[in-house]
Protein backbone atom coordinates (compact mmCIF):
# COMPACT_ATOMS: atom_id res chain seq x y z
CA UNK A 1 0.00 0.00 0.00
CA UNK A 2 1.24 3.38 -0.93
CA UNK A 3 1.74 5.67 2.05
CA UNK A 4 -0.77 8.47 2.33
CA UNK A 5 1.55 11.04 3.75
CA UNK A 6 5.23 11.77 4.13
CA UNK A 7 5.16 11.19 7.86
CA UNK A 8 3.62 7.72 7.40
CA UNK A 9 6.32 6.80 4.92
CA UNK A 10 8.99 7.97 7.33
CA UNK A 11 7.39 6.03 10.15
CA UNK A 12 7.24 2.82 8.12
CA UNK A 13 10.83 3.16 7.02
CA UNK A 14 12.02 3.91 10.55
CA UNK A 15 10.04 1.02 11.94
CA UNK A 16 11.54 -1.37 9.41
CA UNK A 17 14.98 0.06 10.01
CA UNK A 18 14.61 -0.27 13.78
CA UNK A 19 13.44 -3.84 13.48
CA UNK A 20 16.29 -4.67 11.16
CA UNK A 21 18.81 -3.02 13.44
CA UNK A 22 17.45 -4.82 16.47
CA UNK A 23 17.70 -8.14 14.74
CA UNK A 24 21.23 -7.42 13.60
CA UNK A 25 22.32 -6.29 17.01
CA UNK A 26 20.88 -9.37 18.67
CA UNK A 27 22.49 -11.61 16.13
CA UNK A 28 25.73 -9.82 16.66
CA UNK A 29 25.66 -10.30 20.42
CA UNK A 30 24.58 -13.91 20.04
CA UNK A 31 27.49 -14.57 17.73
CA UNK A 32 29.81 -12.68 20.05
CA UNK A 33 28.69 -14.76 23.02
CA UNK A 34 29.18 -18.00 21.13
CA UNK A 35 32.64 -16.87 20.02
CA UNK A 36 33.63 -15.88 23.55
CA UNK A 37 32.52 -19.26 24.89
CA UNK A 38 34.59 -21.07 22.30
CA UNK A 39 37.57 -18.82 23.00
CA UNK A 40 37.28 -19.28 26.78
CA UNK A 41 36.97 -23.06 26.70
CA UNK A 42 40.70 -23.86 26.28
CA UNK A 43 41.57 -21.38 29.05
CA UNK A 44 39.20 -23.14 31.43
CA UNK A 45 40.51 -26.61 30.77
CA UNK A 46 44.21 -25.60 30.95
CA UNK A 47 45.53 -26.36 34.45
CA UNK A 48 46.94 -23.46 36.49
CA UNK A 49 50.72 -23.41 36.68
CA UNK A 50 52.84 -21.91 39.43
CA UNK A 51 55.47 -19.39 38.39
CA UNK A 52 58.87 -20.95 37.96
CA UNK A 53 61.46 -18.33 38.94
CA UNK A 54 64.20 -20.09 37.01
CA UNK A 55 67.75 -21.11 37.81
CA UNK A 56 69.27 -17.68 37.30
CA UNK A 57 67.01 -16.07 39.91
CA UNK A 58 67.41 -18.83 42.50
CA UNK A 59 71.17 -19.27 42.21
CA UNK A 60 73.26 -18.77 45.34
CA UNK A 61 74.77 -15.29 45.56
CA UNK A 62 76.61 -15.73 48.83
CA UNK A 63 80.39 -15.86 48.39
CA UNK A 64 82.97 -16.40 51.08
CA UNK A 65 85.06 -13.49 49.85
CA UNK A 66 87.87 -11.73 51.72
CA UNK A 67 85.34 -9.11 52.75
CA UNK A 68 83.08 -11.75 54.31
CA UNK A 69 86.01 -13.53 55.97
CA UNK A 70 87.01 -10.22 57.56
CA UNK A 71 83.48 -9.86 58.90
CA UNK A 72 83.70 -13.30 60.53
CA UNK A 73 87.15 -12.57 61.94
CA UNK A 74 86.17 -9.26 63.54
CA UNK A 75 83.03 -10.80 65.02
CA UNK A 76 85.03 -13.36 66.95
CA UNK A 77 86.18 -10.78 69.49
Amino acid sequence: MKPTSMSDAEETTMSQTTKGAAFDRRSFFKALGAGATVAATPALVTPAQAVDPGKEETKARYQESEHVKNFYRTNRY
Partner: protein, 198 residues
Protein backbone atom coordinates in the same frame (compact mmCIF):
# COMPACT_ATOMS: atom_id res chain seq x y z
CA UNK B 1 76.17 -24.94 50.03
CA UNK B 2 75.93 -22.22 52.67
CA UNK B 3 72.58 -21.55 54.30
CA UNK B 4 72.62 -17.85 55.19
CA UNK B 5 70.99 -16.61 58.39
CA UNK B 6 70.64 -13.65 60.71
CA UNK B 7 71.50 -14.06 64.40
CA UNK B 8 70.99 -11.24 66.88
CA UNK B 9 73.01 -11.46 70.09
CA UNK B 10 70.52 -9.84 72.48
CA UNK B 11 73.20 -9.44 75.15
CA UNK B 12 75.14 -7.11 72.89
CA UNK B 13 72.36 -5.08 71.23
CA UNK B 14 72.23 -1.57 72.67
CA UNK B 15 69.15 -0.43 70.70
CA UNK B 16 71.09 2.16 68.72
CA UNK B 17 68.93 1.53 65.64
CA UNK B 18 71.95 1.85 63.33
CA UNK B 19 70.87 -1.37 61.58
CA UNK B 20 67.46 0.17 60.84
CA UNK B 21 69.02 3.35 59.49
CA UNK B 22 71.67 1.51 57.49
CA UNK B 23 69.03 -0.68 55.85
CA UNK B 24 66.82 2.25 54.91
CA UNK B 25 69.73 4.18 53.47
CA UNK B 26 71.40 1.32 51.64
CA UNK B 27 68.22 0.06 50.00
CA UNK B 28 66.44 3.42 49.63
CA UNK B 29 63.42 1.91 51.37
CA UNK B 30 60.18 3.84 50.70
CA UNK B 31 58.46 6.05 53.26
CA UNK B 32 56.46 4.18 55.87
CA UNK B 33 58.42 0.94 55.52
CA UNK B 34 61.03 -0.43 57.88
CA UNK B 35 62.54 -3.65 56.64
CA UNK B 36 64.30 -4.00 59.99
CA UNK B 37 63.43 -2.71 63.45
CA UNK B 38 64.66 -3.05 66.99
CA UNK B 39 62.29 -4.51 69.57
CA UNK B 40 63.02 -3.83 73.26
CA UNK B 41 61.62 -5.88 76.10
CA UNK B 42 61.35 -4.40 79.62
CA UNK B 43 62.40 -1.03 78.24
CA UNK B 44 63.96 1.23 80.86
CA UNK B 45 64.09 -1.47 83.52
CA UNK B 46 67.18 -3.28 84.75
CA UNK B 47 67.82 -6.32 82.58
CA UNK B 48 66.10 -4.89 79.50
CA UNK B 49 66.80 -6.69 76.26
CA UNK B 50 66.77 -5.48 72.66
CA UNK B 51 66.71 -7.55 69.53
CA UNK B 52 66.97 -6.47 65.92
CA UNK B 53 64.25 -8.06 63.80
CA UNK B 54 63.69 -8.40 60.07
CA UNK B 55 62.62 -11.15 57.70
CA UNK B 56 64.06 -14.37 59.11
CA UNK B 57 64.14 -16.06 55.68
CA UNK B 58 62.30 -19.12 56.97
CA UNK B 59 63.00 -22.55 55.54
CA UNK B 60 59.27 -23.23 55.13
CA UNK B 61 58.15 -19.63 54.78
CA UNK B 62 54.50 -19.04 55.79
CA UNK B 63 54.36 -15.93 53.56
CA UNK B 64 55.11 -18.10 50.53
CA UNK B 65 52.58 -20.71 51.65
CA UNK B 66 49.67 -18.25 51.69
CA UNK B 67 50.58 -16.11 48.65
CA UNK B 68 47.71 -16.48 46.12
CA UNK B 69 49.90 -15.47 43.17
CA UNK B 70 52.96 -17.47 44.26
CA UNK B 71 55.32 -14.52 44.01
CA UNK B 72 57.84 -15.85 46.57
CA UNK B 73 60.85 -18.01 45.82
CA UNK B 74 63.81 -19.25 47.84
CA UNK B 75 67.33 -19.03 46.49
CA UNK B 76 69.89 -21.82 46.73
CA UNK B 77 71.47 -20.07 49.74
CA UNK B 78 68.04 -19.96 51.46
CA UNK B 79 67.14 -16.29 51.00
CA UNK B 80 63.38 -15.77 50.64
CA UNK B 81 62.75 -13.26 47.86
CA UNK B 82 59.64 -12.13 45.99
CA UNK B 83 58.64 -10.60 42.68
CA UNK B 84 57.03 -7.18 42.85
CA UNK B 85 55.77 -7.68 39.31
CA UNK B 86 53.60 -10.57 40.48
CA UNK B 87 52.59 -9.20 43.89
CA UNK B 88 48.97 -7.97 44.00
CA UNK B 89 49.23 -6.41 47.48
CA UNK B 90 46.58 -8.66 49.02
CA UNK B 91 48.23 -8.59 52.45
CA UNK B 92 48.01 -12.33 53.16
CA UNK B 93 51.77 -12.57 53.74
CA UNK B 94 51.56 -9.78 56.30
CA UNK B 95 49.02 -11.75 58.32
CA UNK B 96 50.93 -15.03 57.92
CA UNK B 97 54.38 -13.76 58.93
CA UNK B 98 55.11 -14.19 62.67
CA UNK B 99 57.76 -11.45 62.53
CA UNK B 100 55.77 -8.72 60.74
CA UNK B 101 58.35 -8.62 57.97
CA UNK B 102 56.16 -7.85 54.92
CA UNK B 103 55.36 -4.13 54.71
CA UNK B 104 53.28 -2.05 52.29
CA UNK B 105 53.94 1.47 51.03
CA UNK B 106 50.19 2.40 51.08
CA UNK B 107 50.69 5.11 48.49
CA UNK B 108 47.93 3.99 46.11
CA UNK B 109 44.38 5.30 45.81
CA UNK B 110 41.38 4.05 47.80
CA UNK B 111 43.48 2.60 50.60
CA UNK B 112 45.27 0.08 48.40
CA UNK B 113 48.40 -1.36 49.95
CA UNK B 114 50.67 -1.35 46.93
CA UNK B 115 53.45 -3.83 46.27
CA UNK B 116 54.79 -5.66 49.30
CA UNK B 117 58.30 -4.81 50.46
CA UNK B 118 60.49 -6.79 52.84
CA UNK B 119 64.09 -7.53 53.76
CA UNK B 120 65.90 -9.13 50.84
CA UNK B 121 69.01 -10.04 52.85
CA UNK B 122 70.62 -7.42 50.58
CA UNK B 123 70.23 -9.94 47.74
CA UNK B 124 68.09 -7.93 45.30
CA UNK B 125 65.27 -9.61 43.42
CA UNK B 126 64.43 -11.57 40.29
CA UNK B 127 65.84 -8.92 37.93
CA UNK B 128 69.40 -9.11 36.62
CA UNK B 129 72.03 -8.83 39.37
CA UNK B 130 73.19 -5.27 40.11
CA UNK B 131 70.91 -3.74 37.45
CA UNK B 132 69.28 -0.32 38.02
CA UNK B 133 65.82 -1.93 37.78
CA UNK B 134 66.71 -4.37 40.52
CA UNK B 135 67.96 -1.55 42.75
CA UNK B 136 64.86 0.56 42.14
CA UNK B 137 62.50 -2.27 43.08
CA UNK B 138 64.38 -4.20 45.75
CA UNK B 139 67.40 -2.20 46.82
CA UNK B 140 71.03 -3.18 46.69
CA UNK B 141 72.41 -6.63 45.96
CA UNK B 142 75.39 -6.82 48.28
CA UNK B 143 75.51 -10.60 48.22
CA UNK B 144 76.29 -10.52 44.50
CA UNK B 145 79.13 -8.09 45.30
CA UNK B 146 80.66 -10.60 47.73
CA UNK B 147 79.43 -8.72 50.81
CA UNK B 148 76.89 -9.30 53.57
CA UNK B 149 73.77 -7.32 54.56
CA UNK B 150 74.79 -3.83 55.66
CA UNK B 151 72.73 -3.96 58.87
CA UNK B 152 75.03 -6.71 60.18
CA UNK B 153 78.22 -5.33 58.72
CA UNK B 154 77.91 -1.96 60.43
CA UNK B 155 76.58 -3.13 63.81
CA UNK B 156 78.79 -1.27 66.27
CA UNK B 157 78.60 -3.83 69.07
CA UNK B 158 78.70 -6.81 66.67
CA UNK B 159 75.34 -7.89 68.01
CA UNK B 160 73.80 -8.63 64.63
CA UNK B 161 75.48 -11.49 62.82
CA UNK B 162 74.83 -12.47 59.21
CA UNK B 163 76.34 -15.02 56.86
CA UNK B 164 76.73 -18.78 56.68
CA UNK B 165 74.51 -20.20 59.45
CA UNK B 166 77.12 -22.69 60.63
CA UNK B 167 79.88 -20.10 60.92
CA UNK B 168 77.82 -17.48 62.78
CA UNK B 169 76.43 -20.16 65.12
CA UNK B 170 80.03 -21.13 65.90
CA UNK B 171 80.93 -17.49 66.57
CA UNK B 172 77.96 -17.16 68.93
CA UNK B 173 78.92 -20.35 70.77
CA UNK B 174 82.47 -19.06 71.24
CA UNK B 175 81.08 -15.84 72.73
CA UNK B 176 78.84 -17.71 75.16
CA UNK B 177 81.69 -20.00 76.25
CA UNK B 178 83.93 -16.99 76.84
CA UNK B 179 81.56 -14.69 78.66
CA UNK B 180 79.20 -17.17 80.26
CA UNK B 181 75.49 -16.75 80.48
CA UNK B 182 74.26 -13.17 80.43
CA UNK B 183 75.95 -10.02 79.29
CA UNK B 184 79.67 -9.84 78.77
CA UNK B 185 79.62 -6.06 78.96
CA UNK B 186 82.16 -4.58 81.34
CA UNK B 187 80.54 -3.14 84.46
CA UNK B 188 77.28 -5.00 84.08
CA UNK B 189 77.45 -6.63 87.49
CA UNK B 190 78.60 -3.36 89.09
CA UNK B 191 75.61 -1.54 87.66
CA UNK B 192 72.95 -4.17 88.15
CA UNK B 193 74.43 -6.36 90.93
CA UNK B 194 74.23 -10.09 91.05
CA UNK B 195 70.53 -10.14 91.77
CA UNK B 196 69.34 -9.04 88.35
CA UNK B 197 67.69 -11.91 86.54
CA UNK B 198 68.72 -11.89 82.91
Amino acid sequence: MARVKFLCDADRCIECNACVTACKNENEVPWGINRRRVVTINDGKPGERSISMACMHCTDAPCAAVCPVDCFYTTADAVVLHSKDLCIGCGYCFYACPFGAPQYPKVGNFGSRGKMDKCTYCAGGPEADLSPVEFQKYGSNRLAEGKLPLCAEMCSTKALLAGDGEIIAQIYKERVVKRGYGSGAWGWQTAYKETIAI
